[in-house]
Symmetry: C2
Subunit: 350 residues, 2 copies
Amino acid sequence: MSLPTLNERAQHLLKALVERYISEGIPVGSRTLSQATPFSLSPATIRNVMADLEELGLIHSPHTSAGRVPTIQGYRLFINQLLTMRDLDSAQVDIISGELRQASGSRQHLIETASQMLSHLTRYAGLVTLPRREHARLRQIEFIPLSSNRVLAILVMDDGEVQNRVLPVSRAYTQGELREFGALLSERLAGQEASRVRDTLLAEMDKVRSDLNALMREAILLTEQAMGESTPGPSLVVSGQSNLVGLGDITNLERMRRLFEAFETKRDILHLLDQSQRADGVEIFIGGESGYDPLEECSLVTAPYREKGRVVGYLGIVGPTRMPYDQVIPLVDITARLLGAALNPADEPQ
Amino acid sequence: MSLPTLNERAQHLLKALVERYISEGIPVGSRTLSQATPFSLSPATIRNVMADLEELGLIHSPHTSAGRVPTIQGYRLFINQLLTMRDLDSAQVDIISGELRQASGSRQHLIETASQMLSHLTRYAGLVTLPRREHARLRQIEFIPLSSNRVLAILVMDDGEVQNRVLPVSRAYTQGELREFGALLSERLAGQEASRVRDTLLAEMDKVRSDLNALMREAILLTEQAMGESTPGPSLVVSGQSNLVGLGDITNLERMRRLFEAFETKRDILHLLDQSQRADGVEIFIGGESGYDPLEECSLVTAPYREKGRVVGYLGIVGPTRMPYDQVIPLVDITARLLGAALNPADEPQ
DNA sequence: TCTGGCACTCTCTCAACCTGAGTGCCAAGC
DNA sequence: GCTTGGCACTCAGGTTGAGAGAGTGCCAGA
């Protein structure tokens, strides 16, 4: 699957062809290309080069008398070697950072805003995964009685995230009892990373099992349960899906249905994003490269975003394979950076 | 806009025609209808009746040599006067109540499950509004310091709902100070309905303004702010949108795009559901009856659901106008009832 | 190695035509 | 007066064939 090496002329022609096809959306013929390129080659010469490119699997004809269209490999070579990025529109950057600043009150809101920015500015579908919480530290745990057999557990994380859950319990507890458990557990667990809390709790149970009274045991179970089902909501925020409806490139209706189904299910796309962590920056899956069938006629442009230097999530867009990569790639890149910046709250400004 | 009254024969024929059209999806001709009806009338006679029905605006021909199709008014009359409901599949009822029981741990999860049930069982899009919280009572307020200029406010409601929000503050507060505010406010406000908390707070401020210290004032503002932006997330849960993609009836691609946009925006659909409160039970908007353009070629079947006897939200489905109402209506109805039952947690079982 | 020329292929569009389905209307029958 | 069979008419949809347009492949010559 390695990309072939091309001489300068072939590179130039492939670049011109892909750019032309991206902007016009119709197969590019030799005549068109001969006019669009500064080499001033005749259409016939160009045809020869195109025949070579076709043999290499970089372009192909939909039919005999149509022009040429880039294949997935053609796009891949174009993006890897030939693409010249467009400068970012500074107005766009201002919009993104402004909106993100406004939303910085709530993590959830921040993620949603980032997703919307991506979809609005690209006119495709925007994706953002919720930031991973495994490195967040526990600050406090509280239990509040709701009724004789239901207790509300509240977990407060160091960064202000709150998780809560109603737990069924086997007997009634007083407010005092529950407050005491909360204080006890908070003391033991505060400052620990959430991902380790479970282990600590289990170890604790082993260590002191004999003199552990039933209440403590129950409290530990409660906490574990509350930690376990971390984020109940969706862990992927999709927006602007409707942008993909009339996109023309996606002709087959059944295929479109499956694409939307994928957006609803979220699981597979999330998995895909999680796997894209090979690269440090923007990563691109063209057409079937992702190996995920519903995205067959789409491209996925993703980037990781960071909190305190650690990658905690991914964002990106899904659009047609025929997409102005030179604009979209920088946009996804900058959005990831700005989201990262917005996630690290500026304590003590000035 | 009042519906015409029909003689028995016309009613019978209209009913047969609508049922036939709903099941087959192609315009119904006089010949077909003559075979399908027990009256044993000749096609010619039926043509006469159909001409009358057309004159009344209940059916119409797509073109000269096609059969007849119900108009919106035809559907309306059919639903209001002619429809005989199908008995509910008891297996379906079991599925719904089972899934809802499993999800009863979290309100959010419950709502999402209900929406998914609706979409799975109808094969259309399911909608559920989040339950209105205005009658929930406040149980407790807490403030937790996050950093020198950010405080986390947590509101716990009587039913176990928790809302939280990071608030920017102008100076650092100690944990003790904040705990004290929380206790004070909790005492004043506990047991009040959330919708009145704001007023109470304002009155309180007026009453004791002179000797109110800066901290108290700030705490009140904090609380108000936290109450104000009640539910930050979406207040409508949509699922199974992708079911509507290949639906055939929705031919126009642009129309479909706008339908999906409507699902994303949510606001207008939410508004529509809120306005459907005239009726006590299931309500149906056929095609353009809703007055909302993106739903032009769709029908909306909704029902309110209750908590403690009070209507707190709406659920329903969006599908094509040509829809098996006899099955969908009972399904929406029972789902609303079961959701209501699941929302009222059975304290002290046995 | 590049170029012009030429035959060839294929899609797309348009118009003409045919068929099948269903209607509207009319006159005859019960 | 309602019902029925008959008949002419209309229209959508499928098929066919011709023509235009675009682009290619290949070849011979510069």
